[in-house]
């Protein structure tokens, strides 16, 4: 590669514009016209395409198989329009921002528009937490369901409780479905600031943002604490990296005002963000400490990074030894044990493809290909683009992977490490793809081929739920059945279900103890498949209130897709229907609620 090719990474577009403005070719004028026309056309077509989508027609491939052709045409228009915008060096920030925000809308607003209400059962759970916090003033500890985490990292819930109470809306349910779209849109600001620290090229920064959003398939951006703390994490990195020198003898990207020595006030501002992260999520502060420690390795960065790193460590220790101490006391043995099992930590969460369904295999291979490509391209970028090695990019991309070997985080660490390293990796991958190819035709083709491929890959990973598409979507009948249950069940009643796929299943969780069969030990799950009454009776033996068992369509989808119990829900329902201990108290087309009266099993 010629040295000047690599230098173009750090070059601002202004110089490129000056050099190219001598004669604007016809192809550039056409590209400019297309880029300006394609954005509004794609948005209008996308909105029109979402009318009358038949959600109930979803099969194993989820939204992908029910979205109309117009949606894919809109996506193609948007992607090729963005490529045309990149082709024209005079494209301004506003048009690029319009394209990336439209991309976020297509990827993350499609689900709430088509479904019409909140779909993710974890997001429902978090809404229930906020409702309880509003009623009680705290998050009561319920030791038997793993909910003590929420009590010890309550930042996200406390913030939302204040939003709900201050605005006077009924519940966070009013806006929770829009969580991914809003959070990803807010993330764009810090992301672009971070990318501008790597390169002054406008085109490269916006192309990297596009790649980032189309590779963020890990579904960790729903209405949840980690979504908020990831936004704050990227913000901290953006403001810190902007102030570190690029390389020895080279000043930071921040010019003039920001090239001063970091003031105490600035450090306190950044630490206030760190403090909010610390009291909102257990994993993000650990990721932040590791990333800041990596950033502090080069001596030139230490003046800026060390005060923030030390402050982050002190804040975390203070929180973990006080408010979060019960959690650490209870789990310290597992954490230490995790340190000795790096291989199983790294592979935990990977699907066993031998026993997977066709849809699961497709999703698994697509997400592996997507993630592997980004990792490989980012690594290649560091080899072939030496200027990137002078930025903090390698440290930001590599640091989160360290945690991969330390803990499995209930099988999620692989996905979390990928997510935390993605901002830097997306930039590296884009730098390799987008900048100065040896042949002109190759440079023109690489992005128009890569960007649509990434869009399709994202939709397969994000819109097809490997755990069963029907488990992703709650019908209005299912919501109605759950509402009926909690409206009629007396305080202290036990709420039971086979899986957690019950809308608002954690409503007033401090008043209604719950029993989820999927969270029981493997022998209990197997026994439930053959003797549901006896198994449920033994599980609620020490409970005093009446027991309600809810079976619904989403649970059936989850069981069919994952095989978490060796029996279909329909067969279990047939067994229950014929048992004298169960009586149907509510029924509609998608859900049934049974009142269970244990007989001998209570003693057993």
């Amino acid at each position: 590669m010629k040295p000047q090719d690599d230098q173009s990474l750090l070059r601002s577009d202004r110089r490129e514009v000056i050099s190219s403005s001598v004669g604007v070719s016809r192809s550039i004028r056409l590209a400019r016209l297309f880029a300006r026309a394609a954005l509004p056309a794609a948005l209008i077509m996308w909105m029109l395409s979402l009318r009358n989508v038949n959600v109930l027609g979803m099969g194993v491939f989820g939204l992908v198989e029910i979205l109309p052709v117009a949606f894919w045409v809109a996506a193609a228009l948007l992607t090729f329009g963005f490529c045309a915008a990149l082709f024209d060096r005079r494209t301004g920030d506003r048009l690029y921002a319009g394209y990336v925000l439209a991309l976020i809308a297509m990827l993350h607003a499609t689900v709430p528009i088509v479904y019409g209400h909140l779909s993710d059962n974890w997001a429902w759970k978090h809404v229930s937490m906020i409702d309880v916090l509003l009623r009680v003033g705290e998050l009561p500890i319920v030791h038997d369901r793993g909910l003590d985490l929420y009590n010890q990292w309550p930042g996200f819930f406390a913030l939302n409780a204040v939003v709900v109470e201050a605005t006077g809306i009924d519940s966070a349910l009013s806006y929770a479905a829009w969580g991914p779209a809003v959070a990803d849109a807010l993330l764009l600001g810090p992301l672009i600031i971070l990318y501008r620290s790597f390169s002054r090229s406008r085109r490269l920064s916006w192309a990297a943002a596009w790649v980032f959003y189309t590779c963020l398939w890990v579904t960790q951006d729903y209405f949840a604490p980690q979504t908020l703390t990831f936004l704050l994490y990227v913000t901290v990195l953006a403001v810190v990296v902007r102030r570190v020198p690029r390389s020895r003898g080279t000043p930071s990207i921040a010019r003039g005002e920001a090239a001063r020595r970091p003031s105490i006030g600035w450090t306190l501002l950044v630490l206030s963000i760190v403090a909010a992260i610390t009291c909102s999520h257990p994993l993000t502060p650990v990721m932040l400490i590791i990333t800041l420690a990596a950033l502090a390795v080069p001596r030139r960065n230490r003046r800026t990074v060390l005060p923030i790193l030390l402050g982050t460590v002190v804040l975390n220790l203070a929180w973990d030894l006080t408010v979060a101490r019960p959690f650490f006391s209870a789990n310290v043995r597992d954490m230490v044990q995790g340190l000795t099992q790096p291989e199983s930590n790294a592979s935990a969460g990977l699907l066993d493809l031998a026993s997977a369904t066709d849809a699961q295999v497709l999703v698994a291979w697509t997400d592996r290909a997507l993630s592997g490509s980004v990792w490989l391209l980012a690594a290649a970028a560091l080899v072939f683009r030496p200027s990137l090695r002078r930025t903090p990019l390698p440290l930001l991309a590599g640091a989160p992977l360290v945690l991969l070997t330390l803990n499995s985080y209930d099988g999620e660490m692989l996905f979390r490490a990928y997510m935390f390293s993605l901002p830097a990796m997306a930039f590296g991958a884009t730098a390799l793809l987008a900048v100065a190819r040896p042949r002109r035709w190759a440079r023109r083709l690489v992005l128009p081929v890569a960007l649509p491929a990434l869009f399709v890959g994202f939709t397969i990973c994000y819109f097809c739920n490997p755990d069963g598409a029907t488990a992703l979507y709650f019908t209005r009948s299912e919501v109605a059945a759950s509402r009926w249950l909690f409206d009629h069940a007396p305080r202290g009643a036990v709420v039971a279900a086979v899986t957690e796929d019950v809308p608002a299943g954690y409503t007033d969780y401090d008043r209604y103890p719950s029993v989820w069969i999927e969270l029981q030990e493997e022998p209990v799950k197997k026994r439930f498949a053959t003797d549901p009454a006896g198994t449920l009776g033994s599980l609620v033996a020490d409970r005093k209130g009446p027991v309600y068992l809810m079976l619904n369509r989403a649970q059936e989808g989850r069981i069919r897709a994952t095989g978490l119990i060796p029996m279909s829900l329909k067969k279990i329902d047939n067994m229950i229907a014929g048992h004298p201990g169960f009586r149907v108290v509510f029924q509609n087309k998608d859900a049934k609620v049974y009142l269970f009266t244990p007989t001998k099993s209570r003693e057993g």
């Binding site: 003033g137 406390a158 913030l159 090239a259 306190l268 206030s272 909102s280």
Partner: protein
């Protein structure tokens, strides 16, 4: 001590959210006031007081506004989280209290006398 028009605008705007709670529940104006205030205060006066970006005030560009906006939003949200968590741990969490404390912080950050900066601006990076 004299305060500029900007200071008084900041103070009035910071108290909009607590005042908006007098409007009916779910009123659009109330929702807008609360959301905007939670995203802007006390972040904006704190950022303009302490962030290096404050030196760009005389020559705002789209990019400097973007940096100030991002830091303002993050500091405001973080302040709201810290205040609400502190109130929750004290067993005194209500929206009124949280909004009043945030407005007080914004008021103090706006009206407190600033230390005159003695630092020298480096021009190395320009």
């Amino acid at each position: 001590m004299r305060f500029g028009v900007r200071s008084w605008i900041f103070v009035l705007a910071a108290w909009c959210a607590p005042a908006a709670m007098a409007l009916p529940a779910g009123n659009a104006l109330r929702i807008a006031a609360v959301i905007v205030d939670l995203l802007v205060f006390p972040g904006l006066p704190l950022v303009l007081r302490w962030s290096p970006e404050r030196y760009a005030v005389e020559g705002f560009t789209l990019r400097s506004v973007q940096r100030i906006a991002v830091l303002t939003g993050a500091v405001s949200l973080s302040s709201a989280i810290l205040v609400t968590v502190a109130l929750m741990l004290a067993g005194a969490l209500t929206a009124e209290r949280a909004l009043v404390i945030l407005a007080l912080v914004a008021t103090v950050a706006t009206l407190a006398p600033a230390r005159r900066s003695t630092g020298r601006t480096s021009t190395k990076g320009s």
